[in-house]
Every structure is written in C-alpha cells, then in structure tokens.
C-alpha cells in the first residue's frame, strides 16, 4: 500500500529536486564556492568512545568538518561504532610515547578535540587540557562524560539510564505510574550528550571568531538532559500538564497517547486542541466531544481503544490523512524509510537494505550538510 503512495508522490518529489538544482545553479560562481557546508575546513580530532562522542563527531562531519577518529589498536568494544561516516580513522597506541606525541601534534593543528574519557585520563597521558591549550590557544576541547568533570560521581561508571535517573526526569518520562524506564539511550547519550556537545562546540567556535581563543567544554550528559527538559522542570507544578492521572502529558490522557490497531501496529494521537478532537471523533464516528475528554477521560480512552482495534493502522491513516486530527502512524523502524512523507523529504537513505540512515538535521538551505 505504501509503494502505491510512493508512485503517487514521485512527480512532486522530482519537481522538488529540479527546483533545488535550478535555484542553486542560478547563483554566481563566487556564490557557489561560498555555499560550502558550514564547517568546511574545521579540523576535529575525535578520540574514539561510545555513543555520545561518536555522535558529536558525526554531526560535525555531516556539516562539513574534517574529523579524524583515533582508535586504540586491537580495541575490543561492546559493539562496532556505526557512527563513522565521513570520518577518517587512524590507529594510535596511547600507551606509547610515540602515540602520545602523535595525538599532541594533531591537536596542535586542530580546531576541536572530543574527549570521551573519564576526567583525568587525558591528564595522566600527558594530554591534559592546560597543556594542549598552551600549545594551541585556539583549541576547543569538548569533554563528554555522564556526570561532568567534577563532583563525587565524576569517577563513577554509568550509562544512559543512570544519567536520566540523575536528571530528575525519569519519573515524569515514565508517567509516574510504573517501573520507570528511559526511551532506549536517546535522551542522555544523544540529546543531552552528543547533540549538546556539538552545540557547545559550535558556540565556542563562533565565539572564537571574536576572541581568537579556544576553551574547554564540560559536557555532563546529566546536565545536558536536565537542561533539555527545562520546560518539564519549570512547569512541574502545572497540574493540567503533569498530574499523574489527568495531566495532558501523563501518558494516559485519552487524546494524547498511542492506540493499538487491528494488525498489532499503533497510531499516535496528539489531539490536544478541541478543534482537532472534533475531527478525531468525526473520523472515528464516535458521538463524543471534548467535554467527555475532560469529564470522563477513562471512558473516552476505553471507547477509543475499542474503536481503533477495529481497523488496521493503515486503514485508519487513510481515513485521517486529509483531516487535522493529529493522528499519525507509529512507524516501525524497518518501514520508516518507505513512508511517502519521508520519501518526499528524502529523510532516510538505506545502508545496503540493512537499516535506515537518518538525514542530518536541521536543514541549512544555502549551505546544507554534506
């Protein structure tokens, strides 16, 4: 069914591509040279590590930086690093003096160093931040850890789940009702870690244009996530949002949750506003209104559960496709690349039919990612 939709959208997709080519070729020759990816020429040294550091390096590489990834010889990692596109990798033995000098020299000529180690490890290797900054005052050193460079937990091991737990957000994320659990390792490792680090690096490199000086960036994944959740923290006394049973974002609010369809797939309903709720109930052919949502939410949830399970997910999407009811399919990972909206926007490429690769975000229209 989705393949049929693909063919429907092809003409517009082609038009879109042609438009982009036409617009970019209408610039002058100088304009075209100027429209390089934003980080072209920026040199990054990424000391290989888990999740957050490679993702930070990936963002920089995607937006044009030259990223050199340094791996230890015979490194036995839990899993292979899949975030290596656009980077070049060299093997350096940091247990040898030669290895240390190699890295030191690379940092002398680099703009950014990404450090994924526990605090003090680089210092012990003779690659401490003060030393590196003395050699190259313009260097920006991003030190990515779970708990930060200081504090009683600075030397403790941890993973995403621990950092989310320390941020204060885990009970809210788990809707305060069940055994809490974070959304895979998205929030601390990637949002509060890699993405936050990339942001800090960009701030520093922009600031450096004025000051001509680098600096150290202390990226604590716990803090990155807590900051990301500022809204949640700052509005935590808003009962309308966060009340365990009736809050809009409580996870069980009848018009803001997922519903199972006949084929075991799910739909996401995000109809917060009355006008969208009206369209939702119309599409479901249910004689209820927004006041039912307010006055008897459990009843509405029940009703919607029973109704959604009558048709398949895609049958429902056919019904809701042209009406503003804030209903969308919960796409599975192995089908996400085939959705017509994603095809139009060219949001995913395929890694040899193995898995989808998301396109870099956001889109800078004049100087896009590589």
């Amino acid at each position: 069914m989705l393949r049929h939709k693909t063919r429907e959208w092809l003409p517009e997709f082609t038009k879109n591509i042609l438009r982009q080519i036409f617009v970019s070729s209408s610039k002058s020759a100088t304009g075209r040279i100027k429209n390089q990816p934003p980080l072209r020429g920026v040199r990054v040294i990424e000391l290989a590590g888990l999740a957050p550091a490679p993702f930070c390096g990936l963002i920089l590489a995607d937006f044009g930086a030259s990223v050199t990834r340094i791996v230890k010889p015979k490194e036995d990692a839990l899993i292979e690093d899949c975030l290596t596109r656009g980077k070049r990798t060299i093997e350096v033995d940091l247990k040898t003096q030669q290895g240390i000098e190699t890295v030191s020299n690379l940092c002398f000529n680099a703009d950014i160093l990404i450090d994924p180690y526990r605090p003090g490890v680089l210092e012990k290797l003779g690659l401490g931040s003060s030393k590196l900054l003395r050699n190259n005052g313009r260097l920006i050193i991003a030190r990515i850890t779970g708990y930060g460079q200081t504090g009683p937990l600075a030397q403790s091991a941890g993973h995403d789940i621990n950092y989310v737990a320390m941020s204060g957000l885990l009970p809210t994320i788990s809707h305060n009702r069940q055994q809490p659990f974070p959304p895979a390792n998205l929030l601390a490792d990637f949002a509060g870690g890699g993405l936050s680090a990339a942001f800090g690096i960009l701030l520093a490199i922009f600031e450096r244009e004025k000051s001509n000086k680098g600096q150290v960036i202390d990226v604590s994944m716990t803090e990155g996530l807590a900051y990301l959740g500022s809204f949640v923290n700052l509005t935590r006394h808003w009962q309308s949002f966060w009340d365990r049973d009736r809050g809009v974002l409580s996870g069980n609010y009848p018009v803001y949750r997922t519903y199972k369809a006949a084929d075991g797939k799910f739909l996401a309903v995000g109809a917060l506003e009355n006008k969208f709720q009206e369209n939702l109930f119309k599409g479901l052919k249910l004689p209820i209104t927004s006041s039912d949502v307010e006055n008897r939410p459990e009843y509405v949830s029940d009703l919607l559960e029973k109704e959604f399970v009558q048709k398949t997910r895609d049958e429902w999407m056919e019904i809701f496709k042209d009406c503003d009811a804030c209903v969308s399919p919960v796409l599975e990972m192995d089908e996400v690349g085939e959705h017509h909206h994603h095809i139009f926007r060219a949001n995913f490429t395929f890694d040899g039919e193995k898995h989808t690769v998301p396109r870099p975000s956001p889109r800078l229209l004049r100087t896009p990612a590589v």
Binding site: N16, P38, L78, I79, C82, L83, T150, G151, L153, S156, G158, I161, A165, S167, G168, P171, F181, P183, A184, N185, L186, F190, A191, L195, A197, F199, L202, L203, F206, E209, Q215, I217, S220, T222, A226, Y227, L228, G229, R236, T258, F266, A268, G270, L331, E332, M333, H341, F344, R345, N347, H355, T356, P358, S361, P362, R363, L364, L365, R366, T367
Partner: protein, 388 residues
C-alpha cells in the same frame, strides 16, 4: 570585567509559540543573545512563562498592516528570526524569507515545524507524539506488552526541535562569518528526532542490541542488568551495568555470585530479574545510593524533579540553580559548560507580554512620533506599567 557570552551582540526575534520555539530562544538568551519575543496583542500574561527568562517582550497586533511592518523593520536589523508557524503563515503576512532576506541578506531565518516546510504532511497539525511516531523511534520506546510511550515531549519538541534549531542557528552564524550571508533553516521535528536517534536507527541490525519485540532488547528494558528496580521505600534505583566489569561489582555488592556471565543471564533471564528485584527491595533507595556511591556498579537513584538539587553530585556541581525566591525553585543550569565564556541564565527575570515594547522600538531606531503612532493604532501594545 563581566564574563563574555558567546552570543553577545546577536539579536534574535522570536515569535511566541509552543514549547520548542521558546526553548530555542531560551537557549540563545542563556548564552548571551538579545532575544526579543513578539507576543500576541491579546496576551495578558496570566500564566508566568518561565521559558522567557532574560528575554524582552514586544506585543504586536499582526492583523494590522502597521504591526507586520513593525516586525519587518525589527528583522531588518536583527540576526536571527525564529518562526514557529505552519509553512506559509509568515508569507501571508508579508514576512516570508523572500521579503526579509531581501531586506537583510544576513538574516538567519529559522523555521521550526513538526513535519518540515515541504512534503505532503507539511500543513498537518501535530504534536510531539505525532513527530516521534513518524521518526520510527516511538515504536522502540516502551515495555513489553505495553503500548509505545513517548518520553513526554522531550524527543521531538526539545531534542529534535529546540536544541536542533539552536544548533542550526549557531552553525549558520558561524558560516556567516565567512560568507557574510544569512539563510533559511528548515527544522522538522520528525527529522531532528530521527537524527538524534541515528544510533538507534543504524543499529537495528545489531543482534546484541535489537531484533526482539519492543521491551525485550538490551536497551529497552529487556535486560535485567539495564533497568530500574523498586526499593524498600517504594522509590527506584537505576541499574546500567552493561559491561561484565560493571555487573561484577553490582552482583558483589548485592551479595550475588559476582561471576555470573551474560550467557548465564540469558539462559535464566527471569531468575536474574527476580533475584535483583528481591534484593533491591531489602533496603531504601538512599541506603542503596550510599552503598553504591563511588563504585563502578552503574547504580544511581531515580530522582524526582523536586529533589534533584539536593542530591550531592548535583549540589556539588550546582547543576540546578536555586533562587532565594519566596518558593524554593530549581532551574537546570544551562548546558554544556563553556569554561571561558559560560552561559548566564537570567532565572527570575520573566517579561510580561509587551513589557518592553517601547524600549525595544526605541533600541531599533523608531522615533518617538513613530512609537506613539504605533501604540495609538494598536499595532504595538506597551504593558510596562501594567500589574500582573
């Protein structure tokens, strides 16, 4: 000398909107930008907007021609515009990228929407849950047997939306130092979320990590050594002991066989879970926190929002800013920490809508006569003297 701020001197025009755009503006303000919020003329400011800390507010009636040309003039001498509307809305007001970039080719025009500026779904309404659903990621969030659950509005609104847009803006600002030109940024929260979850997408074919039904994988609550456990006082601890060297410490401290291997655990997963569940129930959360502090067992307390600032790690780093207000309140400190040019979150300084209308217009070179004209026709509303 006052510490430098990375975005000092950068002027941002932020149209009032929902969660992601205020968050983006807040980040920029925290890091030194002058952020001017364009509030709706009819917004009386009954609800205190804590995301507007450190921003200035101009109240404008965009239904009036004088109102839109006021905003157009502000954009002429600004660096960044943040657009929260559906594609085409600003164009209809004569404030589209074509006009504003012609006025000011250095402008960075950041458009933040759910589905993006183009595509068959661009005009559809939606919220965070819809965007995470479309990114593919929502299908991986949730315990076995339960419905997929989005992490409130963190994944799309804030990670894929606010923070991603802030990143794009600073990238464009940096690029502008070389080219002298601004540009349009198209942030789709669907894409931002998917990109942030690149690792999850790209490891779908890694058997160690994925391949089972939701809730039965290593990182989604399928593994006993990577989950939360209830304690004697009905609170929780988080256990993230993925590597053998870490779960060895964990088992030791719990009085279990420290040499249990992953294959053994895989053979009797329920047995392991039961053991861990029973043992953790024997002490309170804070007792466990004390036992595991300073070890490599990857065990941390699951903190509530009301107690984060009193935890010793968070307290030592002042990860949460507390005010000496009437009510004790904590706001997360801006992240990440730049050592030489740190952020400065003006917690406690929340503008009322329209509080700075006159002041901002004056800053932007409007004459007294012009300001009076705009106020009298209702294009701009000044609430500087109004009490909340």
């Amino acid at each position: 000398m006052a510490p430098l701020l990375p975005l000092a001197g950068i002027r941002v025009i932020e149209f009032a909107g929902l969660a992601p755009v205020p968050h983006c503006g807040m980040i920029l303000a925290d890091f030194g930008a002058t952020v001017i919020k364009v509030d709706r003329a009819d917004d009386q400011g009954h609800r205190l907007d804590r995301m507007s800390r450190g921003k200035q507010s101009v109240a404008v009636d965009l239904k009036l021609k004088e109102g839109t040309s006021l905003v157009r003039r502000l954009c002429r001498s600004s660096d960044v515009l943040i657009d929260p509307f559906r594609p085409g809305v600003l164009e209809k007001l004569g404030l589209g990228p074509r006009e504003l970039l012609a006025d000011n080719p250095r402008l960075i025009y950041a458009r933040l929407s759910g589905f993006g500026q183009t595509g068959p779904w661009k005009d559809m309404a939606g919220h965070d849950i819809n965007y995470v659903a479309l990114s593919g990621l929502l299908s991986t969030f949730g315990r076995a047997g339960q419905k997929p659950t989005a992490p409130v509005n963190l994944a799309a609104d804030f990670a894929g939306g606010g923070l991603t847009t802030a990143l794009g803006i600073v990238m464009a600002l940096f690029e502008r130092t070389r080219s002298g030109q601004g540009q349009v940024i198209d942030t789709s929260m669907v894409e931002g979320a998917a990109y942030a979850g690149s690792f999850i997408h790209m490891t779908q074919d890694t058997p160690l990590l994925w391949g089972q039904e939701r809730g039965n994988n290593l990182l989604d609550s399928g593994a006993a050594i990577y989950d939360t456990y209830e304690t004697a006082d009905a609170k929780f601890v988080a256990v993230g002991a993925l590597e053998p060297k870490f779960h060895r410490v964990l088992f030791e401290k719990l009085g279990m066989n420290p040499n249990a291997s992953i294959p053994e655990m895989a053979m009797n997963p329920e047995e392991f879970r039961r053991e861990l569940t029973e043992r953790f129930k024997k002490k309170t959360r804070d007792e466990w926190t004390h036992i595991f502090a300073g070890t490599d067992a990857c065990v941390t307390p699951v903190l509530e929002l009301d107690e984060v600032s009193s935890n010793e790690q968070n307290k030592s780093r002042q990860s949460f800013i507390t005010l000496d207000d009437n009510q004790p309140f904590s706001a997360p400190t801006p992240a990440p920490r730049l050592s030489r040019t740190p952020a400065h979150a003006q917690v406690g300084l929340y503008p009322k809508p329209g509080q700075h209308s006159t002041a901002v217009l004056r800053d932007f070179g409007f004459s007294t006569a012009e300001i009076e004209q705009l106020l009298s026709c209702g294009a701009a509303i000044d609430r500087a003297s109004s009490k909340l």
